[in-house]
């Protein structure tokens, strides 16, 4: 569809033409019985003027169907193993591998090998769990940052932060990516803990391992020391092999020598 060349040039930023013509109104213009006066027109969103457009929009939404991954039409490849050193997971489709990789190898803590869904959560974890400087500072000032992107609130303890997440941001009390730091070091696989977890009637996925920490719904904030919280599942599934994988530690080189 063509536009007049001059118009196209003008709208695209070419220098304008001469001055506007002089305006000279007669007071008789638009007087009774006439009534015309130029005016800006604004239509509120619900106005009938937009009906046609809205209908078109909704027809478009209803007509569009896109495919979700998992179709049999995925490229068929012979089975291959995850290329990350030490991971033995096997795939026969590329999309599965993509998601696996990003979910489990992309944001991994180099200290305790836990995987996180985002760089942001990984950074927070490293800071709060593996940075002794953080612990020192936390004794004197509010260091626990709210997990919600865009919220700049900081808290004295991780419990205070959790309360903030629940009250202010309507997060679930058992939000899986907000764990109080345990006094022990990196997680140790323990069958005993696993049994305990199940004995508590936990209906979590038992083979969850350490990748996403699960806080038992039965554990209320209590005076018991952090080291005694045993309701986590520690069993690592055989498909995850911890090796030398290039996971991330501190972002800043300066803090390197401070890790425990």
């Amino acid at each position: 569809m063509q536009l007049p060349p001059a118009l196209h040039a003008r709208l695209a930023g070419a220098p304008g033409s001469a001055e506007p013509l002089p305006v000279e109104r007669d007071p008789a213009a638009g007087t009774t019985p006439f009534s015309f006066a130029p005016r800006l027109v604004r239509f509120p969103r619900e106005h009938d003027f937009f009906e046609d457009g809205d209908v078109q929009r909704h027809l478009y939404l209803q007509d569009v169907l896109t495919q979700v991954g998992g179709a049999p039409e995925r490229p068929r490849v012979p089975e291959f193993t995850c290329q990350v050193a030490g991971c033995c997971q096997v795939f026969d489709a590329l999309e599965d591998y993509e998601h696996h990789y990003h979910a489990l190898h992309r944001n991994v803590c180099s200290f305790c090998k836990r995987a996180f869904p985002s760089g942001h959560l990984l950074d927070t974890h490293i800071l709060e769990w593996h940075d002794s400087l953080f612990q020192i500072l936390a004794e004197r000032q509010d260091m626990y940052q709210c997990l919600v992107e865009g919220c700049t609130e900081k808290f004295r303890t991780s419990r205070d932060r959790k309360e903030h997440l629940v009250m202010r941001h309507l997060y679930p009390a058992d939000f899986r990516f907000d764990k109080p730091r345990r006094s022990r070091g990196p997680a140790v696989p323990g069958a005993a803990e696993q049994v305990l977890a199940e004995a508590l009637g936990d209906d979590r996925v038992p083979s969850e391992g350490d990748a996403m920490e699960v806080c038992s719904e039965h554990v209320e904030p209590s005076p018991e020391p952090a080291g005694e919280r045993r309701a986590y599942s520690h069993r690592i599934p055989s498909t995850i092999c911890f090796g030398q994988g290039a996971s991330r530690g501190f972002k800043s080189a300066k803090k390197r020598n401070k890790h425990q």
Binding site: P20, S35, V41, E73, R76, L94, M212
Partner: protein, 492 residues
Amino acid sequence: MPRPLTPPLPPCAVAAQSVPCSRRRGPVACSVVQVYSRSTMWSRQRGGLKPLRCGVEQLRCRRREREAALRKARREQQLVSKRLLRDEALEEAEEGCVAMIFGEAEIQQFLRLAQRGTEEKEREGALVSLRRGLQRPETQQTFIRLEGSIRTLVGLLTSNQALLQLEAARCLHELSHSEQSAVVEACLPATSYLLTYLSGHSSDFIELCLYTLGNLIVESEAVRRQLLPQGIVPALAACIQSPHLTVLEALGYALSQLLQAKEAPEKIIPSVLGSTLPQHMLQLLQPGPKLNLGVAVEFAWCLHYIICSQVNNALLITQGALSTLGLLLLDLAGAVQRTEDAGLELFLLQKQPSLLPEGLWLLNNLTANSPSFCTSLLSLDLIEPLLHLLSVSNVVSVLVLTVLCNVAEKGPAYCQRLWPGPLLSSLLDTLAFSDTEVVGQSLELLQLLFLYQPGAAQAFLQQSGLQALQRHEEVAQLQDRVHALQQTALHG
């Protein structure tokens, strides 16, 4: 050693990359839809048009019904549409095989298998079966009423098994698409996780989360009252930096649903305007080789909802909204053809009738208080193309005449440029209309022309203008103006 941002591929997978895999959009209820290729990490080939499943007449009839239903819904302020991602190829493969309705026992078994199964394939299979069942409203109802079912699903969504995560997300997606509020609202415990995953990197997964969120958002204010404090706006603002087109389109969809909400002007749009979202939206609407239509459509709607809410359009203007949108419109209008005898090319609007009201509305607002815009209209020879539009429809005619009045009312210098020319005969034609508003606007224009352009009244008389006026002498809303014009024409 830094972690590569894209998974390193094994050699066999590299070879497989060259195998085309078509992903198609499929029809819903017999409507023809263009196929569409998605760009993900591995390229796919564009497919062809899918053949119609039913006759053309049936199609048209169906479409008319759907349109009528939508208009009615809009008038009742009940306009809700959701997007569903579903495996088209899978559905085809199962043609004839209707999704089962599962009872409590079956659902419980699937969930148990998914949670505690020993074989991975077994666990995944259980969730796949569940997901298929959840296509049926009956199964959805049973599912949400089953104690612990959502909690289990959320547990699987956040498990460390990537494929279980994906399948669990798909189950949630089916639920989000339901027309039953109770089913949709049962998904609320998952929202904090859906938002968390928006900061991840797996584009398929993020896309799924976004469409699910979009469906949840449009469902009810209760849902939005939870999502806003959970930080959906900052989450979207972070996510809009994704390079994946599929993610961007999904994000645009989710955001458009958010901005469409009744309470948006007070509760949502201010924080959206305060975020980096508008800048990114405008960037995604820049014309050029990188413009993706699917993405642009979503963000254009987002902008529409923001702008017509009149919250802070000045801010958008400072961010370059006007020039971006103007250039985009130009780009969509196509390249300008340079020909020797370039007469007046018809304006874009003539070929896009559905755009006419909007385009003319824009012209009205541009010309109403702006002598320079009116001058441009004249010097760029746009009057004649405008006159051509007078026969399209009553609504369009009124708008065209209003724009012309905006020009004429600025005085003799302007009217002089409107004269002589096709304007008079066009006006005489419009006087033959029966629509009162069209005729009324023509009369207003005539008054201005008679006032500012010597010879106009004379020419009007000579071309049988009086007769044209006569037929409206008895019409209540027009009488006084008709008589006034008759007087002016006859006596000056």
